[in-house]
Symmetry: C2
Subunit: 264 residues, 2 copies
Amino acid sequence: MTGKLYIVGVGPGHHDHMTFRAKEVIAESDTIVGYETYVNLVQDLIGGKTVYRYAMTQEVERAHQCIDLAKSGKIVSLVSSGDPGIYGMAGLIYETLAETGWDPKDGLQVEIIPGVSALNSCASIIGSPLMTDFAVVSMSDLLVPWEIIEKRVEAAAQGDFVIVIYNPASKKRIHQLQDTRKVLLKYRKPTTPVAIIKGAFRDSETIVMTDLENLPNHSDQLGMITTVIIGNSSTYTYKDLMINPRGYKSKYNLEEQTNPNLKV
Amino acid sequence: MTGKLYIVGVGPGHHDHMTFRAKEVIAESDTIVGYETYVNLVQDLIGGKTVYRYAMTQEVERAHQCIDLAKSGKIVSLVSSGDPGIYGMAGLIYETLAETGWDPKDGLQVEIIPGVSALNSCASIIGSPLMTDFAVVSMSDLLVPWEIIEKRVEAAAQGDFVIVIYNPASKKRIHQLQDTRKVLLKYRKPTTPVAIIKGAFRDSETIVMTDLENLPNHSDQLGMITTVIIGNSSTYTYKDLMINPRGYKSKYNLEEQTNPNLKV
Protein backbone atom coordinates (compact mmCIF):
# COMPACT_ATOMS: atom_id res chain seq x y z
CA MET A 1 0.00 0.00 0.00
CA THR A 2 1.37 3.38 -0.97
CA GLY A 3 0.38 6.70 0.45
CA LYS A 4 1.20 10.18 -0.72
CA LEU A 5 3.78 12.75 0.15
CA TYR A 6 2.90 16.43 0.00
CA ILE A 7 5.70 18.95 0.44
CA VAL A 8 3.70 21.96 1.54
CA GLY A 9 4.57 25.63 1.66
CA VAL A 10 2.28 27.47 4.05
CA GLY A 11 3.49 30.95 3.15
CA PRO A 12 4.90 33.65 5.41
CA GLY A 13 3.42 32.45 8.66
CA HIS A 14 0.00 34.02 8.47
CA HIS A 15 -2.89 31.86 7.23
CA ASP A 16 -4.11 34.75 5.08
CA HIS A 17 -1.23 34.18 2.72
CA MET A 18 -1.51 30.40 2.58
CA THR A 19 -2.94 28.94 -0.63
CA PHE A 20 -6.17 26.94 -0.78
CA ARG A 21 -4.19 23.93 -2.02
CA ALA A 22 -1.92 24.03 1.02
CA LYS A 23 -4.87 23.98 3.41
CA GLU A 24 -6.57 21.27 1.36
CA VAL A 25 -3.66 18.82 1.41
CA ILE A 26 -3.05 19.38 5.12
CA ALA A 27 -6.72 18.53 5.72
CA GLU A 28 -6.37 15.40 3.55
CA SER A 29 -3.23 14.21 5.37
CA ASP A 30 -3.23 11.86 8.34
CA THR A 31 0.38 12.62 9.20
CA ILE A 32 2.16 15.97 9.58
CA VAL A 33 5.94 16.29 9.67
CA GLY A 34 7.96 19.44 10.06
CA TYR A 35 10.43 21.59 11.87
CA GLU A 36 8.77 22.55 15.15
CA THR A 37 8.36 26.25 14.32
CA TYR A 38 6.71 25.41 11.00
CA VAL A 39 4.33 22.89 12.54
CA ASN A 40 3.30 25.54 15.06
CA LEU A 41 2.28 27.80 12.16
CA VAL A 42 -0.48 25.35 11.24
CA GLN A 43 -1.29 24.13 14.75
CA ASP A 44 -5.00 24.93 14.32
CA LEU A 45 -5.23 22.78 11.18
CA ILE A 46 -3.72 19.53 12.48
CA GLY A 47 -5.98 18.41 15.31
CA GLY A 48 -6.41 14.61 15.39
CA LYS A 49 -3.47 13.94 13.08
CA THR A 50 -0.21 12.20 13.89
CA VAL A 51 2.41 14.92 14.19
CA TYR A 52 6.19 14.55 14.07
CA ARG A 53 8.11 17.66 15.11
CA TYR A 54 11.77 18.02 14.33
CA ALA A 55 14.57 20.26 15.49
CA MET A 56 16.51 22.25 12.91
CA THR A 57 19.44 20.42 11.22
CA GLN A 58 17.60 17.08 11.16
CA GLU A 59 16.67 17.53 7.51
CA VAL A 60 18.03 14.20 6.24
CA GLU A 61 16.30 12.20 8.96
CA ARG A 62 13.09 14.15 8.30
CA ALA A 63 13.22 13.37 4.56
CA HIS A 64 13.71 9.66 5.19
CA GLN A 65 10.92 9.47 7.73
CA CYS A 66 8.48 11.25 5.40
CA ILE A 67 9.28 8.86 2.58
CA ASP A 68 9.03 5.81 4.82
CA LEU A 69 5.71 6.95 6.26
CA ALA A 70 4.26 7.62 2.80
CA LYS A 71 5.52 4.26 1.52
CA SER A 72 3.77 2.55 4.43
CA GLY A 73 0.46 4.02 3.27
CA LYS A 74 0.24 7.28 5.17
CA ILE A 75 -0.82 10.54 3.59
CA VAL A 76 1.96 12.81 4.74
CA SER A 77 2.31 16.59 4.66
CA LEU A 78 5.85 17.80 5.17
CA VAL A 79 5.15 21.42 6.09
CA SER A 80 7.39 24.45 5.95
CA SER A 81 6.95 28.19 5.90
CA GLY A 82 7.28 30.03 2.62
CA ASP A 83 7.81 27.91 -0.48
CA PRO A 84 9.48 24.50 -0.10
CA GLY A 85 10.79 24.86 -3.64
CA ILE A 86 13.04 27.78 -2.68
CA TYR A 87 15.94 26.61 -0.48
CA GLY A 88 13.43 24.19 1.03
CA MET A 89 12.84 20.48 1.54
CA ALA A 90 11.76 19.70 -2.04
CA GLY A 91 15.36 19.09 -3.08
CA LEU A 92 16.32 16.71 -0.32
CA ILE A 93 13.15 14.66 -0.82
CA TYR A 94 13.77 14.27 -4.56
CA GLU A 95 17.47 13.59 -4.04
CA THR A 96 16.70 10.91 -1.49
CA LEU A 97 14.05 9.31 -3.71
CA ALA A 98 16.39 9.39 -6.71
CA GLU A 99 19.03 7.50 -4.73
CA THR A 100 16.58 4.65 -4.23
CA GLY A 101 15.61 4.35 -7.91
CA TRP A 102 12.15 5.83 -7.39
CA ASP A 103 9.95 6.18 -10.47
CA PRO A 104 7.51 9.12 -10.29
CA LYS A 105 5.19 7.42 -12.79
CA ASP A 106 4.42 4.26 -10.80
CA GLY A 107 6.12 4.83 -7.44
CA LEU A 108 5.30 6.99 -4.47
CA GLN A 109 3.20 10.01 -5.41
CA VAL A 110 4.88 13.29 -4.50
CA GLU A 111 3.39 16.76 -4.90
CA ILE A 112 5.03 20.06 -4.10
CA ILE A 113 2.61 22.78 -3.09
CA PRO A 114 4.25 26.11 -3.89
CA GLY A 115 3.77 28.98 -1.50
CA VAL A 116 4.41 32.66 -1.00
CA SER A 117 8.15 32.72 -0.28
CA ALA A 118 10.09 35.42 1.57
CA LEU A 119 10.95 37.12 -1.71
CA ASN A 120 7.25 37.45 -2.53
CA SER A 121 6.03 38.47 0.92
CA CYS A 122 8.87 40.84 1.80
CA ALA A 123 8.68 42.61 -1.56
CA SER A 124 4.94 43.17 -1.10
CA ILE A 125 5.47 44.81 2.28
CA ILE A 126 8.18 47.30 1.36
CA GLY A 127 6.97 48.58 -2.02
CA SER A 128 7.86 47.37 -5.49
CA PRO A 129 11.54 46.35 -5.44
CA LEU A 130 11.21 43.43 -7.88
CA MET A 131 10.00 45.20 -11.01
CA THR A 132 13.34 44.47 -12.65
CA ASP A 133 15.68 41.50 -12.82
CA PHE A 134 16.82 40.20 -9.46
CA ALA A 135 19.15 37.64 -7.93
CA VAL A 136 18.31 35.53 -4.90
CA VAL A 137 21.26 34.58 -2.71
CA SER A 138 21.41 32.65 0.56
CA MET A 139 24.19 33.69 2.94
CA SER A 140 24.13 30.33 4.70
CA ASP A 141 27.53 28.70 4.22
CA LEU A 142 26.64 25.49 6.05
CA LEU A 143 26.24 23.68 2.73
CA VAL A 144 27.85 26.02 0.21
CA PRO A 145 31.40 27.38 0.59
CA TRP A 146 31.51 31.13 1.29
CA GLU A 147 33.86 31.69 -1.68
CA ILE A 148 31.10 30.56 -4.06
CA ILE A 149 28.51 32.76 -2.39
CA GLU A 150 30.82 35.78 -2.51
CA LYS A 151 31.51 35.15 -6.19
CA ARG A 152 27.76 35.16 -6.81
CA VAL A 153 27.30 38.44 -4.96
CA GLU A 154 30.00 39.96 -7.15
CA ALA A 155 28.35 38.63 -10.32
CA ALA A 156 24.96 39.95 -9.21
CA ALA A 157 26.54 43.35 -8.54
CA GLN A 158 28.17 43.38 -11.98
CA GLY A 159 24.84 42.52 -13.60
CA ASP A 160 23.08 45.34 -11.72
CA PHE A 161 20.58 42.88 -10.28
CA VAL A 162 18.37 43.80 -7.36
CA ILE A 163 19.48 41.29 -4.71
CA VAL A 164 17.25 39.36 -2.31
CA ILE A 165 19.23 37.82 0.54
CA TYR A 166 17.89 34.80 2.42
CA ASN A 167 19.47 33.77 5.75
CA PRO A 168 21.55 36.94 6.01
CA ALA A 169 23.00 36.08 9.41
CA SER A 170 22.75 33.93 12.49
CA LYS A 171 24.36 34.24 15.91
CA LYS A 172 27.48 32.37 14.79
CA ARG A 173 27.54 33.84 11.31
CA ILE A 174 27.77 37.58 10.96
CA HIS A 175 30.65 38.34 8.57
CA GLN A 176 28.80 37.31 5.39
CA LEU A 177 26.53 40.32 5.15
CA GLN A 178 29.45 42.62 6.03
CA ASP A 179 31.53 41.07 3.22
CA THR A 180 28.57 41.31 0.85
CA ARG A 181 28.23 45.01 1.60
CA LYS A 182 31.92 45.56 0.85
CA VAL A 183 31.60 43.80 -2.51
CA LEU A 184 28.49 45.77 -3.42
CA LEU A 185 30.06 49.11 -2.50
CA LYS A 186 32.62 48.49 -5.26
CA TYR A 187 29.73 48.73 -7.75
CA ARG A 188 26.89 50.65 -6.07
CA LYS A 189 26.50 54.00 -4.38
CA PRO A 190 26.49 54.13 -0.55
CA THR A 191 22.97 55.57 -0.87
CA THR A 192 21.64 52.43 -2.59
CA PRO A 193 18.40 51.55 -0.76
CA VAL A 194 18.37 48.49 1.51
CA ALA A 195 15.34 46.99 3.22
CA ILE A 196 15.64 44.65 6.19
CA ILE A 197 12.44 42.71 6.81
CA LYS A 198 12.15 40.58 9.95
CA GLY A 199 9.23 38.23 10.51
CA ALA A 200 7.18 39.29 7.49
CA PHE A 201 3.43 39.04 8.18
CA ARG A 202 4.04 37.74 11.70
CA ASP A 203 2.99 39.63 14.81
CA SER A 204 6.65 40.42 15.39
CA GLU A 205 7.13 42.00 11.94
CA THR A 206 9.70 44.80 11.90
CA ILE A 207 10.98 46.67 8.87
CA VAL A 208 14.03 48.88 8.58
CA MET A 209 14.64 50.97 5.48
CA THR A 210 18.26 52.00 5.22
CA ASP A 211 21.06 52.11 2.63
CA LEU A 212 24.36 50.34 1.94
CA GLU A 213 26.29 52.95 3.92
CA ASN A 214 24.23 52.50 7.07
CA LEU A 215 23.50 48.78 6.85
CA PRO A 216 26.00 47.90 9.64
CA ASN A 217 23.99 50.00 12.10
CA HIS A 218 21.11 47.53 11.96
CA SER A 219 22.69 44.18 12.80
CA ASP A 220 20.18 43.75 15.64
CA GLN A 221 17.53 43.36 12.95
CA LEU A 222 19.24 40.29 11.44
CA GLY A 223 18.39 36.69 12.24
CA MET A 224 16.82 33.45 11.08
CA ILE A 225 13.57 35.05 9.91
CA THR A 226 15.12 38.12 8.31
CA THR A 227 15.29 38.88 4.59
CA VAL A 228 17.36 41.69 3.10
CA ILE A 229 16.54 43.36 -0.22
CA ILE A 230 19.21 45.54 -1.83
CA GLY A 231 18.26 47.86 -4.66
CA ASN A 232 20.04 48.23 -7.99
CA SER A 233 21.11 51.39 -9.82
CA SER A 234 17.54 52.43 -10.62
CA THR A 235 15.91 51.70 -7.24
CA TYR A 236 14.73 54.69 -5.25
CA THR A 237 12.85 55.25 -2.01
CA TYR A 238 9.68 57.21 -1.54
CA LYS A 239 8.37 57.74 1.99
CA ASP A 240 9.72 54.43 3.34
CA LEU A 241 8.79 52.48 0.21
CA MET A 242 11.42 50.91 -2.04
CA ILE A 243 10.41 51.42 -5.67
CA ASN A 244 11.95 50.04 -8.80
CA PRO A 245 10.63 51.75 -11.93
CA ARG A 246 10.80 48.83 -14.39
CA GLY A 247 11.70 51.30 -17.15
CA TYR A 248 8.24 52.81 -17.52
CA LYS A 249 9.50 56.31 -16.90
CA SER A 250 11.79 56.36 -19.88
CA LYS A 251 9.03 55.14 -22.16
CA TYR A 252 5.89 56.89 -20.96
CA ASN A 253 5.16 60.28 -19.54
CA LEU A 254 3.23 59.48 -16.38
CA GLU A 255 1.96 63.07 -16.15
CA GLU A 256 0.33 62.87 -19.55
CA GLN A 257 -2.64 60.93 -18.34
CA THR A 258 -3.51 63.16 -15.40
CA ASN A 259 -3.04 66.35 -17.41
CA PRO A 260 -4.54 65.85 -20.87
CA ASN A 261 -3.62 69.42 -21.82
CA LEU A 262 0.04 68.64 -21.66
CA LYS A 263 1.62 68.21 -25.08
CA VAL A 264 4.12 65.42 -25.44
CA MET B 1 -14.26 59.90 0.87
CA THR B 2 -11.36 57.58 0.19
CA GLY B 3 -11.55 53.96 -0.80
CA LYS B 4 -8.87 51.34 -0.95
CA LEU B 5 -6.65 49.92 -3.64
CA TYR B 6 -5.67 46.28 -3.54
CA ILE B 7 -3.07 45.05 -6.02
CA VAL B 8 -3.88 41.37 -6.06
CA GLY B 9 -1.89 38.38 -7.27
CA VAL B 10 -4.19 35.43 -7.92
CA GLY B 11 -1.41 32.92 -8.54
CA PRO B 12 -0.81 30.71 -11.55
CA GLY B 13 -4.32 30.69 -12.93
CA HIS B 14 -5.84 27.93 -10.86
CA HIS B 15 -7.83 28.92 -7.77
CA ASP B 16 -6.14 26.13 -5.81
CA HIS B 17 -2.97 28.18 -5.73
CA MET B 18 -4.59 31.49 -4.87
CA THR B 19 -4.12 32.73 -1.30
CA PHE B 20 -6.96 33.25 1.14
CA ARG B 21 -6.10 36.93 1.32
CA ALA B 22 -6.46 37.32 -2.46
CA LYS B 23 -9.94 35.81 -2.40
CA GLU B 24 -10.88 37.86 0.64
CA VAL B 25 -9.96 41.25 -0.85
CA ILE B 26 -11.65 40.42 -4.15
CA ALA B 27 -14.81 39.63 -2.17
CA GLU B 28 -14.47 42.91 -0.25
CA SER B 29 -14.00 44.97 -3.43
CA ASP B 30 -16.83 46.64 -5.33
CA THR B 31 -14.67 47.29 -8.37
CA ILE B 32 -12.38 44.93 -10.30
CA VAL B 33 -9.79 46.16 -12.79
CA GLY B 34 -7.44 44.06 -14.86
CA TYR B 35 -6.07 42.84 -18.13
CA GLU B 36 -8.85 40.81 -19.71
CA THR B 37 -7.12 37.44 -19.41
CA TYR B 38 -6.47 38.02 -15.71
CA VAL B 39 -10.02 39.11 -14.99
CA ASN B 40 -11.23 35.94 -16.67
CA LEU B 41 -9.16 33.92 -14.16
CA VAL B 42 -11.40 35.16 -11.35
CA GLN B 43 -14.66 35.40 -13.33
CA ASP B 44 -16.50 33.24 -10.78
CA LEU B 45 -15.54 35.57 -7.91
CA ILE B 46 -16.67 38.90 -9.35
CA GLY B 47 -20.42 38.58 -9.90
CA GLY B 48 -22.27 41.82 -9.11
CA LYS B 49 -19.13 43.96 -9.10
CA THR B 50 -18.19 46.73 -11.51
CA VAL B 51 -15.54 45.28 -13.80
CA TYR B 52 -13.10 47.16 -16.03
CA ARG B 53 -11.24 44.97 -18.51
CA TYR B 54 -8.15 46.26 -20.28
CA ALA B 55 -6.15 45.19 -23.26
CA MET B 56 -2.42 44.54 -22.84
CA THR B 57 -0.15 47.62 -23.10
CA GLN B 58 -2.68 49.90 -21.38
CA GLU B 59 -0.83 49.67 -18.08
CA VAL B 60 -0.47 53.40 -17.46
CA GLU B 61 -4.13 54.10 -18.13
CA ARG B 62 -5.06 51.14 -15.92
CA ALA B 63 -2.92 52.48 -13.02
CA HIS B 64 -4.49 55.93 -13.25
CA GLN B 65 -8.01 54.58 -13.39
CA CYS B 66 -7.45 52.36 -10.35
CA ILE B 67 -6.10 55.27 -8.34
CA ASP B 68 -8.91 57.59 -9.44
CA LEU B 69 -11.56 55.00 -8.61
CA ALA B 70 -10.08 54.34 -5.17
CA LYS B 71 -9.77 58.07 -4.48
CA SER B 72 -13.46 58.47 -5.32
CA GLY B 73 -14.34 56.00 -2.58
CA LYS B 74 -14.38 52.68 -4.40
CA ILE B 75 -12.78 49.55 -3.01
CA VAL B 76 -10.74 48.43 -5.99
CA SER B 77 -8.92 45.19 -6.74
CA LEU B 78 -6.42 45.43 -9.55
CA VAL B 79 -6.00 41.75 -10.36
CA SER B 80 -3.20 39.93 -12.13
CA SER B 81 -1.96 36.38 -12.39
CA GLY B 82 1.07 35.36 -10.38
CA ASP B 83 2.52 37.95 -8.02
CA PRO B 84 2.01 41.65 -8.84
CA GLY B 85 5.27 42.39 -7.01
CA ILE B 86 7.33 40.51 -9.62
CA TYR B 87 7.41 42.40 -12.94
CA GLY B 88 3.81 43.34 -12.14
CA MET B 89 1.59 46.37 -11.58
CA ALA B 90 2.83 47.18 -8.05
CA GLY B 91 5.62 49.34 -9.45
CA LEU B 92 3.55 51.46 -11.78
CA ILE B 93 0.94 52.11 -9.08
CA TYR B 94 3.55 53.28 -6.57
CA GLU B 95 5.40 55.30 -9.20
CA THR B 96 2.20 57.03 -10.23
CA LEU B 97 1.21 57.74 -6.63
CA ALA B 98 4.69 59.06 -5.83
CA GLU B 99 4.41 61.53 -8.74
CA THR B 100 1.33 63.04 -7.11
CA GLY B 101 2.89 63.49 -3.67
CA TRP B 102 0.87 60.68 -2.11
CA ASP B 103 1.47 59.95 1.56
CA PRO B 104 0.94 56.28 2.52
CA LYS B 105 0.28 57.28 6.14
CA ASP B 106 -2.74 59.51 5.60
CA GLY B 107 -3.51 59.17 1.89
CA LEU B 108 -5.06 56.45 -0.19
CA GLN B 109 -4.66 53.00 1.38
CA VAL B 110 -2.78 50.58 -0.86
CA GLU B 111 -2.12 46.90 -0.16
CA ILE B 112 -0.20 44.48 -2.32
CA ILE B 113 -1.36 40.89 -1.97
CA PRO B 114 1.58 38.67 -2.91
CA GLY B 115 0.91 35.52 -4.87
CA VAL B 116 2.50 32.37 -6.22
CA SER B 117 4.56 33.72 -9.13
CA ALA B 118 5.77 31.78 -12.16
CA LEU B 119 9.09 31.08 -10.46
CA ASN B 120 7.29 29.42 -7.56
CA SER B 121 4.71 27.50 -9.58
CA CYS B 122 7.01 26.36 -12.39
CA ALA B 123 9.71 25.20 -10.00
CA SER B 124 7.16 23.12 -8.07
CA ILE B 125 6.05 21.33 -11.22
CA ILE B 126 9.44 20.31 -12.60
CA GLY B 127 11.27 19.17 -9.46
CA SER B 128 13.57 21.17 -7.20
CA PRO B 129 15.56 23.56 -9.40
CA LEU B 130 15.70 26.44 -6.89
CA MET B 131 17.59 24.83 -4.02
CA THR B 132 20.53 27.08 -4.76
CA ASP B 133 21.01 30.74 -5.65
CA PHE B 134 19.11 31.87 -8.73
CA ALA B 135 18.68 34.87 -10.97
CA VAL B 136 15.36 35.99 -12.42
CA VAL B 137 15.54 37.69 -15.81
CA SER B 138 12.81 38.99 -18.10
CA MET B 139 13.57 38.80 -21.82
CA SER B 140 11.06 41.55 -22.61
CA ASP B 141 12.97 44.46 -24.13
CA LEU B 142 9.93 46.72 -24.47
CA LEU B 143 11.03 48.69 -21.41
CA VAL B 144 14.62 47.62 -20.88
CA PRO B 145 17.30 47.76 -23.62
CA TRP B 146 18.44 44.33 -24.79
CA GLU B 147 22.10 45.21 -24.09
CA ILE B 148 21.31 45.49 -20.37
CA ILE B 149 19.42 42.20 -20.34
CA GLU B 150 22.24 40.43 -22.16
CA LYS B 151 24.77 41.83 -19.70
CA ARG B 152 22.67 40.41 -16.87
CA VAL B 153 22.52 36.99 -18.49
CA GLU B 154 26.31 37.02 -18.76
CA ALA B 155 26.67 38.04 -15.10
CA ALA B 156 24.25 35.32 -14.02
CA ALA B 157 26.25 32.79 -16.03
CA GLN B 158 29.52 33.93 -14.45
CA GLY B 159 27.98 33.63 -10.98
CA ASP B 160 26.77 30.08 -11.74
CA PHE B 161 23.21 31.07 -10.88
CA VAL B 162 20.27 28.91 -11.85
CA ILE B 163 18.34 31.22 -14.19
CA VAL B 164 14.56 31.70 -14.32
CA ILE B 165 13.46 33.45 -17.50
CA TYR B 166 10.17 35.36 -17.61
CA ASN B 167 8.70 36.41 -20.98
CA PRO B 168 11.20 34.34 -22.99
CA ALA B 169 9.66 35.18 -26.36
CA SER B 170 6.69 36.56 -28.23
CA LYS B 171 5.73 36.41 -31.89
CA LYS B 172 7.75 39.51 -32.71
CA ARG B 173 10.57 38.73 -30.31
CA ILE B 174 12.46 35.50 -30.78
CA HIS B 175 16.18 36.34 -30.88
CA GLN B 176 16.53 37.03 -27.14
CA LEU B 177 16.40 33.43 -25.98
CA GLN B 178 18.71 32.40 -28.83
CA ASP B 179 21.23 35.06 -27.78
CA THR B 180 20.85 34.02 -24.15
CA ARG B 181 21.64 30.43 -25.07
CA LYS B 182 24.79 31.53 -26.90
CA VAL B 183 26.01 33.50 -23.89
CA LEU B 184 25.28 30.61 -21.52
CA LEU B 185 27.10 28.09 -23.74
CA LYS B 186 30.28 30.08 -23.13
CA TYR B 187 30.03 29.10 -19.48
CA ARG B 188 27.88 25.99 -19.26
CA LYS B 189 27.90 22.53 -20.82
CA PRO B 190 25.53 21.83 -23.74
CA THR B 191 23.99 19.15 -21.50
CA THR B 192 22.91 21.72 -18.87
CA PRO B 193 19.25 20.92 -18.08
CA VAL B 194 16.59 23.33 -19.33
CA ALA B 195 12.88 23.19 -18.48
CA ILE B 196 10.27 24.98 -20.58
CA ILE B 197 6.96 25.34 -18.74
CA LYS B 198 3.95 26.67 -20.62
CA GLY B 199 0.69 27.54 -18.86
CA ALA B 200 1.66 26.21 -15.43
CA PHE B 201 -1.37 24.81 -13.55
CA ARG B 202 -3.70 25.70 -16.41
CA ASP B 203 -5.59 23.10 -18.41
CA SER B 204 -3.21 23.78 -21.29
CA GLU B 205 -0.07 23.07 -19.20
CA THR B 206 2.79 21.58 -21.20
CA ILE B 207 6.30 20.87 -19.99
CA VAL B 208 9.40 20.16 -22.03
CA MET B 209 12.60 18.99 -20.37
CA THR B 210 15.57 19.55 -22.61
CA ASP B 211 19.10 20.97 -22.43
CA LEU B 212 21.01 24.00 -23.71
CA GLU B 213 22.11 22.12 -26.83
CA ASN B 214 18.56 21.21 -27.86
CA LEU B 215 16.73 24.31 -26.66
CA PRO B 216 16.28 25.69 -30.23
CA ASN B 217 14.24 22.60 -31.16
CA HIS B 218 11.42 23.69 -28.86
CA SER B 219 10.60 27.23 -29.98
CA ASP B 220 6.95 26.19 -30.50
CA GLN B 221 6.75 25.87 -26.72
CA LEU B 222 7.60 29.56 -26.19
CA GLY B 223 5.06 32.36 -25.71
CA MET B 224 3.46 34.81 -23.34
CA ILE B 225 2.67 32.25 -20.64
CA THR B 226 5.95 30.34 -20.86
CA THR B 227 8.72 30.29 -18.27
CA VAL B 228 12.16 28.80 -18.86
CA ILE B 229 14.38 27.48 -16.07
CA ILE B 230 18.05 26.84 -16.86
CA GLY B 231 20.14 24.79 -14.47
CA ASN B 232 23.56 25.68 -13.11
CA SER B 233 26.71 23.53 -12.86
CA SER B 234 25.26 21.27 -10.16
CA THR B 235 21.76 20.77 -11.60
CA TYR B 236 20.91 17.28 -12.83
CA THR B 237 17.86 15.53 -14.19
CA TYR B 238 16.25 12.41 -12.84
CA LYS B 239 13.36 10.87 -14.79
CA ASP B 240 12.07 14.20 -16.16
CA LEU B 241 12.65 16.05 -12.90
CA MET B 242 15.17 18.87 -12.60
CA ILE B 243 16.99 18.56 -9.29
CA ASN B 244 19.45 20.91 -7.67
CA PRO B 245 21.23 19.32 -4.72
CA ARG B 246 21.72 22.40 -2.51
CA GLY B 247 25.06 21.01 -1.39
CA TYR B 248 23.64 18.33 0.88
CA LYS B 249 25.50 15.58 -0.92
CA SER B 250 28.90 16.95 -0.09
CA LYS B 251 28.02 17.26 3.58
CA TYR B 252 25.87 14.25 4.35
CA ASN B 253 25.88 10.69 3.17
CA LEU B 254 22.27 10.15 2.14
CA GLU B 255 22.74 6.38 2.24
CA GLU B 256 23.77 6.48 5.86
CA GLN B 257 20.25 6.81 7.15
CA THR B 258 18.77 3.97 5.14
CA ASN B 259 21.70 1.71 5.86
CA PRO B 260 22.64 2.15 9.50
CA ASN B 261 25.39 -0.47 9.15
CA LEU B 262 27.35 1.73 6.84
CA LYS B 263 30.28 3.40 8.54
CA VAL B 264 31.05 6.96 7.56
